[in-house]
């Protein structure tokens, strides 16, 4: 099993529109009708993106700021223009990140320009940092955000992502010199154009290379952190989904790994979630069927069935905890954040059940105690005996 994201199925959300989606990665598309993720909808400044049965709908009012892409926990949405151009190696001056609305001549020399700084997710900020060589990174605040169609009353939209990037860097052992920062460099408001200009003259990667570059990084990143055990691959049972790694997470891992040159002090707090299973578990396996990223899965191992959990895939959506029929499952967001705690093997064995075949129907089931009937046959037997008394006295 490999966690390399599946081949690209990128498609624009509207014809001729830069905003694209990878269907395989979007939770509501992977798990229609129960995945409750609405991150893109909630963050969109003009309320242009809508999660609907059967797909995402993008209205004409989209301003192409990329804030939805930054909010997506799976990194399923993408917009060209946010990737590092070729890094200028020997420069010692800070790398300024500026927005497309600012006239190009006002952007500091060798700076980087993106459609909107709100479109920078934590992963993207770290990615820029990793690509900037030894230059410090400064996100510029032009003081326009409050009045901008892509901004809002909260001011500069990248504060949250920036704070998180700094937290992760500190946890990974990066020194204070490394931390990216926000720098006020206000411009007169009358210089601001109404809309984000189209990507004319900006140095961008083509869409194809934009996404494939990330695909290649993702596999490397996770395997560097915690490789899967080699050897024989055990069979997954049933119809659980193919595992998918959040591209946003891949970015974060790749960038952190590169920045620290592999010398992680500890897994950064807030990056890995944990699932605990208590003794109530009756091996219903509903959690494995429902897990939208495939982090929970059932493996067959001889006469045993094993519920395994891969923390690198989990995005703490909480579907498993809310669905478990016996309330046996607990999701602990950031559950591996204790100081000095190292990441568990992946996948982690949560619970294992011995299987035997039912004496009545011959199907395999996970038995507790001396039970010789599978749950379905036991139910039938109990129904028959209770109906016997009800109906025939």
């Amino acid at each position: 099993m490999s966690n390399t994201p599946s081949p690209l199925k990128y498609r624009p959300l509207r014809p001729q529109h830069p905003l694209g989606i990878i269907d395989d990665a979007c939770l509501p598309l992977r798990a229609p009708r129960y995945a409750s993720c609405r991150a893109c909808e909630d963050v969109c400044p003009p309320r242009a993106i809508h999660v609907e049965d059967g797909g995402l709908r993008l209205d004409e009012s989209c301003v192409a700021c990329g804030r939805c892409a930054a909010a997506c926990p799976m990194g399923a949405l993408g917009l060209p223009g946010f990737t590092m151009p070729e890094p200028a190696q020997e420069k010692r001056s800070p790398l300024a990140v500026d927005c497309w609305k600012v006239p190009a001549k006002l952007t500091p020399e060798h700076g980087m320009r993106v459609p909107c700084l709100g479109g920078l997710s934590t992963g993207r900020i770290l990615e820029i940092l990793a690509g900037a060589g030894n230059r410090p990174v400064e996100l510029l605040d032009r003081g326009w955000c409050v009045g901008c169609s892509a901004g809002g009353p909260d001011g500069h939209p990248s504060r949250t992502a920036l704070k998180r990037a700094c937290d992760l860097l500190e946890a990974a052992g990066a020194g204070p010199d490394w931390l990216p920062r926000l720098r006020d460099q206000h411009l007169p408001a009358n210089l601001m154009p109404a809309a984000i200009p189209a990507a004319v003259g900006e140095a961008t990667l083509s869409r194809r290379s934009f996404f494939s570059a990330l695909t290649a990084k993702a596999a490397v990143a996770v395997d560097r952190i915690r490789p899967l055990p080699g050897g024989e691959v055990r069979r997954r049972r049933g119809f659980e989904r193919e595992p998918v790694l959040s591209r946003e997470r891949a970015r974060v891992l790749w960038a952190l790994d590169r920045i620290t040159e592999g010398g992680w002090l500890s897994p950064p707090s807030g990056l890995f979630h944990r699932v605990d299973v208590n003794a109530n578990c009756a091996n219903h396996q509903v959690c494995a069927s429902i897990c939208p990223t495939g982090a929970l899965a059932v493996y067959e191992q001889g006469q045993r069935s094993e519920l395994m959990f891969d923390t690198t895939l989990c995005i703490a959506c909480g579907e498993c905890q809310s669905t478990c029929p016996s309330a046996a499952l607990q999701l602990l967001p950031n559950g591996y954040a204790a100081p000095g705690e190292s990441l568990p093997d992946r996948p982690t064995l949560l619970v294992t059940f011995a299987e035997r075949s039912c004496v009545e129907c011959g199907r395999n089931f996970a038995g507790l105690g001396e039970e010789s009937l599978c749950p379905q046959c036991r139910k039938r037997r109990n129904l028959a005996s209770s109906a016997f008394r009800t109906l025939f006295g």
């Binding site: 069927s289 579907e319 016997f388 025939f392």
Partner: protein, 254 residues
């Protein structure tokens, strides 16, 4: 709108399994996976054992626990009182099978019950779990009718493809009316001793309501609060502790 319900008269039922066979043909089922089967149960020891049986279709509960637990809302209740599964929405998590107290739901992707594996002999095309040599013509995935696709749960639909075509306002669906025969569920239509009644529970003049009233119809596992729309009647107007289907009990022989 009708509220379809069924009454099974256990005084008439001979346990012949014709209903199960009819169901198998009508709904493209494999042996052991019929939407309805006859449960046998013995109690007591020789020389006076009691053997009893009753057919078990889906109870089409008024308050179906399977529907409430479904994470994708694939299981739903129609306006005319039937519980159906939308196979396009079902993800095969089997939560409904855990929730159903009557055990009438089927997930057929596991080990086959008979050899040779007919799913291998008649391989299904696309998503479908098999390709039966004789096919009932209906396939409606949104209602869970037809050949079962892989990776979903299935159950009795009260032959929804038939009953939903019955004229509005129909009170009784039985073989007695030649005009309505096409709309009668396969098990009801086939039953040799006519032990099954099918009709509108909301219509006070329907045959099902008459039989339930006259013979004190009972529902199974009332304590679960599921309120089945399938009623059982035993015999001679008495429920529970009354007479036992003809010739089947030691008491009758005495």
């Amino acid at each position: 709108m009708a509220k379809w319900g069924m009454v099974i008269d256990l005084e008439k039922c001979t346990g012949c399994q014709a209903c199960s066979t009819a169901c198998q043909m009508e709904n493209n089922r494999l042996p052991g996976e019929n939407y309805q089967d006859v449960l046998y149960y013995t109690e007591g020891k020789q020389p006076t054992p009691k053997l009893q049986w009753f057919p078990r279709p889906c109870m089409q509960c008024e308050n179906p626990s399977c529907m409430h637990v479904c994470p994708t809302k694939a299981t739903y209740k129609t306006e005319d009182g039937v519980v159906l599964i939308d196979w396009n929405k079902c993800i095969g998590c089997k939560y409904c099978m855990i929730a159903c107290p009557y055990g009438v739901r089927f997930y057929t992707d596991e080990k086959p019950l008979v050899e040779p594996n007919l799913k291998e002999v008649f391989k299904g095309e696309g998503d479908l779990s098999w390709n039966p040599p004789y096919k009932s013509p209906q396939q409606d995935n949104t209602k869970g009718i037809g050949i079962q696709p892989n990776g979903v749960v299935s159950k009795c639909t009260f032959c929804y493809h038939k009953i939903s075509k019955a004229p509005k306002g129909t009170a009784n669906l039985s073989n007695d009316d030649p005009a309505l025969r096409e709309f009668v569920p396969a098990c009801v239509r086939t039953c040799p001793p006519t032990a099954r009644y099918f009709g509108d529970l909301d219509n006070p003049n329907s045959e099902v309501n008459r039989v339930i009233a006259a013979k004190k119809g009972q529902r199974l596992l009332e304590h679960t609060g599921n309120k089945p729309q399938v009623y059982y009647v035993t015999g001679a107007g008495a429920a529970g502790g009354g007479s036992i289907p003809g010739g089947r009990s030691s008491a009758n022989k005495a």
